[in-house]
């Protein structure tokens, strides 16, 4: 009864696997996001039609061969507008999430790494930010600084920041108390090295998931604000704006509101599924 055989019985060897593709759902999600990115960078690949071209004769065409997703009240092709709108949406989503993350990481690190007093101060600051529901905060911001894409991005970013900051702070605190940090200290690592090489990477790791899903969330929030007319103004092909414009015609031309909304849903779904897949990979549940 050697050590090896006994231990082998307890920990079955993982067979070497070839490069495995993600499961079906995750693959589709990643593919969709990739296509979206492509549409944002090179919309010409997907459609030749000008999203802003007004063709009154072609107004209210239902989905068909000439116009895959139909046309709106001014004859603009909806598919083209959605493709070009991808750039707007992705830009807003990414920029807003970036702003949220910068604020969140700054506050979260401060709270997690600083002493008890700093942590309490940061916690209190987060509570103050949290006191406003996100849309209310965004509306307040727009009221003070005016509407438009710029304030829209900042408003959405501000709205998401407190939630992420709490998450970062929680992660940093959890990792800080972890056994391997103590072990690193006992080994004799200098503090800076522990923080940079072990604490930060481990604390930030789960945030990749949050970031991915956060972009989807940011797109929805930005669309909500545009829907209310406080973001990108018509005739810009932003998905929320398109939804709002089509609202009056919903009885006769359902495709004006349905398809932009569908794309928002698909984007959110894609980011959620991708985020979950990354999470499972990180936790080692999948090869």
């Amino acid at each position: 009864m050697t050590d090896l055989t006994h231990d082998q019985a307890l920990a079955p060897l993982r067979r070497q696997r070839h490069l495995k593709l993600p499961p079906l759902g995750a693959s589709l999600a990643i593919l969709f996001l990739f296509a979206l990115l492509l549409a944002a960078l090179a919309p010409g690949l997907f459609t030749r039609i000008d999203p802003l071209a007004i063709v009154p004769r072609q107004a209210f065409q239902p989905p068909g061969w000439a116009h895959w997703l139909g046309t709106d009240q001014s004859g603009r092709d909806i598919f083209a507008r959605i493709i070009h709108g991808a750039r707007q949406s992705l830009l807003i989503g990414l920029a807003a999430t970036a702003i949220s993350m910068v604020i969140a990481i700054a506050l979260g690190l401060l709270g997690g790494l600083g002493g008890a007093r700093v942590d309490r101060a940061v916690g209190w600051l987060l509570e103050v930010l949290f006191a406003f529901p996100s849309l209310v905060l965004a509306l307040l911001f727009v009221a003070v600084f005016g509407s438009g894409v710029g304030p829209l991005i900042v408003a959405t970013g501000l709205g998401g920041a407190p939630g992420y900051a709490r998450m970062v702070r929680g992660q940093v605190l959890a990792v800080r108390n972890a056994g391997y940090i103590e072990a690193a200290r006992a080994l004799g690592h200098p503090t800076a090295r522990i923080v940079l090489r072990q604490l930060l990477p481990n604390a930030m790791r789960p945030l990749v998931v949050t970031l991915t899903m956060g972009v989807g969330q940011a797109i929805v929030w930005a669309s909500a604000l545009s829907f209310l007319g406080l973001g990108a103004r018509p005739p810009a092909p932003e998905w929320g704006t398109m939804l709002s414009m089509g609202r009056d015609f919903i009885a006769n031309a359902w495709w004006l509101t349905f398809f932009p909304g569908l794309f928002i849903v698909l984007t959110t779904l894609a980011t959620t599924v991708t985020g979950r897949y990354i999470q499972q990979r990180l936790e080692g549940r999948l090869p």
Binding site: L4, A183, T191, N202
Partner: protein
Amino acid sequence: MSDKTLTVEGLNVAFDDGSVVRDLSFTLPPGRCVALVGESGSGKSVSARCLVGLAGARAKVSARRLSFAGHDLLDLSERQWRAVRGKDIGFVLQDALVSLDPLRPVGKEILEVLQTHGYGDRHTRTARVHELLERVGVPDVELRARQRPGQLSGGLRQRALIASALALDPALVIADEPTTALDATVQAQILEVFQQIKARGASLLIISHDLAVVAQLADEVVVLRHGEVVEQGPMQQVLRQPRHPYTRALLAAVPAEHPRGSRLSPERVGVRIEPRARSHGDVLFEGRGLGKRYLGPDGLVRQVVQGVDFTLRAGRTLGIVGESGSGKTTVARIALGLLQPDEGEVLYRGQPWNRPANVVSEAVRRPLRGEISVIYQDPLGSFDPRWSVAQILDDALQVAGIEAPARPARIAVLLDQVRLPAALAQRRPLQLSGGQRQRVAIARAIASEPKVIICDEPVSALDVSVQAQVLDLLADLQDELGLAYLFISHDLGVIRHVSDDVLVMRHGQVVEQAPVEQLFDNPAHAYTRRLLGAVPRLPGSGAELVVPPLDLVHEAFDLFDETRLWKIAI
């Protein structure tokens, strides 16, 4: 009048990935006790669960015969099982902290059994709950019944768990590792409770990995290994004159029965390095008058450690033994320099190492840290989850000042020294077994060529045979590398086997300090005598179990969690 005998014949259990129990057979007459003994993966727990129909939906259970009190237990419907569970057969799991609903008072848990089986009315049920708690030895039953498991100490909540299993006086009581996770004195008290259950005429089926515990209760012992019965027979015969090599190896691996210097595991794999000359006797580590206080949010000050002195000499092992709340782990952290004492000081090689109020800064300690290493009870938690074994060792070598080109060779040497195959270097700790992980932790600890290793319960979470191998490894390394060990454990048997000198701690204070043989043969302090008497021994050792009375002061210390103190400042 049905004879309340449990008959198991040819029990087979299989899951999707293979057979887990093969051809298990035994008979359990009323008033007797059968023990299923084995290590992890032996199938003992699964078998027990089959007897109440809770092996799980994915389990395929079959047997030639499975009957209790004349009822056939094979192919019972779920509803029929529900009539049996709790009423004819009671089940006790280990660790009441997780085996009782943490959000409900324990009284309600006991009440639930009575309600489910329609016992009496509201008043008689409440009376019965109190009666049961008294029977298992819980004081202040009315108050305690309203407390949640987290508000009770380990011993009291285990008693409450047993009470809930006994609620309807089942004829058969199954207990799965009922005393694991308990202090020695508390364990002895719980064993006494089980003796009383047996004396009242119920039959007992005990599942355990601990042969000494089993020896206190069992009439018949069944030894399982990888799902197969390896040996079976009357307890005295199996434990004193084992026939099968596996049983013999299990008995040989119990540390309490083997004095210092003897081997616990049968063989050693790997190359043996020539032992160096031991530098004997220089004082390496010294603790003087150490004290640590904790101010709770309720305003109470607790003295976690008080007036502790210790001396560790080069090449020798100082064992620190104590129950929960004794403060031994806090002492270890003060010795490591990760926690500052409120009073007293720690000297390393005569120089101040740790003093209150940050008098000795980390910058002063850091250059010396290579000489002091540590291994923990849970090695997995001490590894960075992203890293492979090679990366973990590489990191340790880097801190020790080894240049990058020399490291891969050193990693290979380290793995060899802890008897791990080089192929494991690319694996992650999650993919290793408990014993392998601890070896990696040991390899990391010796990477910097230390003089002292502080071992904080390093084998408590391991199976007996794996524990034996790790203890042997530590002993070999001590010879080969001239190491001194500060060995913390709650397990008296392990302490006896590894130590040269022993420190006994209780409630934060040192109760007794002596060379190992003197302490165990001739204990001076009453507490030490009580502790030694409470440890179960194998038959033939000549020692009888002495059950200490219920000590509520100790129970209060048990509730306090030392780990709350440790907020390591980075």
